[in-house]
Symmetry: C2
């Protein structure tokens, strides 16, 4: 890691492009003055924005490109016209070429994943990518993955998710051995959970130094913060994430309606304004903005497309942390140990079997 | 349907047994005076409770049994010692023998499903059971299924879920043609959704008279109330349900903490008490208590095990509605029409294919 954290931004991504991403970078820079930015996008738009943000301007280099990936494009379309030249591709490519330590984009998720995978390739030993989200809980925050990069998972993929998620939790929460739970459903003797059960056995037997396997957890354990890392395949994970977002919005709406119904309620609201502000901050989806792409030879962060500068800054912060505290190294450490342990487990199993058959 | 709705209760089920289920039945009876109860369980416990509830006593018959299914038993264990004689079995058996129109239990879900399936058998044309939940939304309520009866689903099973869920929505919401969405994730070109896509095509082509197929929905659409019926396989459905419950509890906790931090907040809370009461009612999990077992030749309702009399009464109410408004007949109507439509679709497809090959 060089002295500064070098962040490559796809400034054109997201619903609002540079008008959100550039001021967002400026906010993140205040919190992490040891950052440097490569700003990929339309120089004619970025230039004037930078002129009003001298601090960011001093820490940035603009790399002009005319090509921007549209939010509605399919990944295959985006790859066809955007490879080699779009702001999204170039930001990822800066990571590939080791000119940046992390790439951040608020652009189209499918296109970003396709380009990241195409350009950075999978880490040795990992077959499929994942997206990890930070989930606010009653105890703080947890890492939840996969929230939608790929559907379905065998036991090996679930173990890889556990490995990568625990590395991310080590980076973010400063824990030596984060607790990891496998998301499951509580109904007894239901068929179809073989992969989850098998992954549980593998994780328990491996007894890894950087991963404290805590068993199965259910949907309501996520919000409780029962474990530091919640592991599931991408379909269920995406549905859990979106369902929680929907529920939070729904309750916020109930609360707003209830508080504006009578003059007593309105007065009560005014008096308790400070408390409601704290509540809003707690429930603010911007604070936990940013999905981390895992399993690739490089760090890529996806911000929500519709976010504002504050939300985009949270995604940049997340990218900063992942790069500064060496996510990839930590994933590799756990993976290597895991391979050694699995190999020795397989070896001793063969010895045992040989014993039985001799 | 006889004049009265005959409800068979497993009074021993749940964390608290008759002390919750019997007063719960009494609350439900007030709302539906045209109910009759068969109370299965320990007569020595139920008798004294009924003596203090003369209204319920007059509308009930107690059928004594010594055997009660424990909450912690595995379905196979429960079947072994509880078949033919437990309060749970006898309540289901009353539906089988047409002595009751619906059975309600707060007992162990796995055991209840195993016994219901063993005794009532699957409806003709349905291969796997489902559990449907009522989900409070911004627009009112929606039916969500399957929330955990079985894991994974091919296109045919998803179509069956849509059919059964729409019949349930017709019963509950008094709609001629409820809208139905298939739960999916928004990431483009992700592999593994073939079953969901295929089910979408089948539902669109069938264009059923009692089911308005509205396309794919995402996790956050559930709470919005985008559709009347949300269809998904049981693993994702269970995780969505539990995650939403967890999120609601989490936000409730945030709110309580925020409102007790300062004297201004406390005073505001006091003033807005009425508004908070409305909010609590909106968020009250007891109000939407009760899972409906679908796909069986009989109606069985599962109440939460830890609920109180008010919550158990909500499950009884749900059972009353399902029986009174003829859920099974409505499912059969849609299934029959669906089979006809599917048959004719297959027939015309064969004709078309024959044309191509001739």
């Amino acid at each position: 890691m060089p002295n500064k954290v070098r962040i490559a931004l796809d400034t054109m991504g997201g619903d609002h492009g540079p008008s959100v991403t550039v001021p967002g970078a400026d906010l993140a820079l205040v919190r992490h003055p040891d950052s440097e930015f490569l700003l990929f996008g339309d120089g004619a738009v970025i230039g004037p924005l930078l002129d009003s943000l001298p601090r960011l301007k001093a820490a940035s280099r603009v790399i002009h490109t005319d090509v921007a990936i549209k939010m509605s494009d399919k990944p295959s379309q985006a790859l066809r016209y955007g490879r080699w030249k779009s702001s999204m591709w170039l930001a990822i490519d800066a990571v590939k070429k080791a000119e940046a330590d992390v790439a951040v984009s608020a652009g189209n998720t499918g296109a970003l994943m396709a380009m990241a995978r195409f350009n950075l390739k999978m880490m040795p030993g990992i077959e499929r990518p994942a997206i990890a989200a930070l989930w606010p809980t009653m105890r703080g925050e947890s890492v939840v993955l996969d929230v939608g990069a790929s559907i379905g998972a065998d036991a090996t993929h679930l173990v890889h998710l556990a490995t990568m998620g625990s590395a991310m939790a080590r980076v973010l929460f400063d824990l030596e051995r984060p607790s990891v739970g496998l998301l499951n459903i509580g109904v007894e003797e239901v068929k179809g959970l073989e992969a989850v059960r098998e992954a549980g056995v593998l994780l328990r037997d491996a007894n890894l130094p950087h991963l404290d396997y805590a068993g199965f957890v259910e949907g309501d354990d996520i919000g409780k913060g029962t474990v530091d890392v919640v592991v599931t395949e991408g379909f269920a994970g995406n549905i859990a994430l979106k369902t929680a977002e929907g529920t939070a919005r729904q309750i916020g709406e109930y609360l707003r309606n209830a508080m504006s119904r009578t003059w007593r309620a309105k007065l009560g609201y005014l008096l308790a304004r400070g408390a409601f502000r704290i509540l809003r901050e707690k429930m603010d989806p911007r604070a936990s903005n940013g999905g981390v792409f895992l399993g690739l030879n490089g760090i890529v962060i996806k911000s929500h497309g519709g976010t504002d500068p504050e939300g985009f800054a949270a995604a940049v912060d997340l990218g900063y942390d992942m790069a500064r505290y060496e996510l990839l190294t930590k994933i590799n450490q756990t993976l290597t140990l895991n391979r050694q342990d699995t190999a020795s487990a397989v070896a001793s199993a063969s010895v045992a079997t040989a014993g039985v058959h001799s």
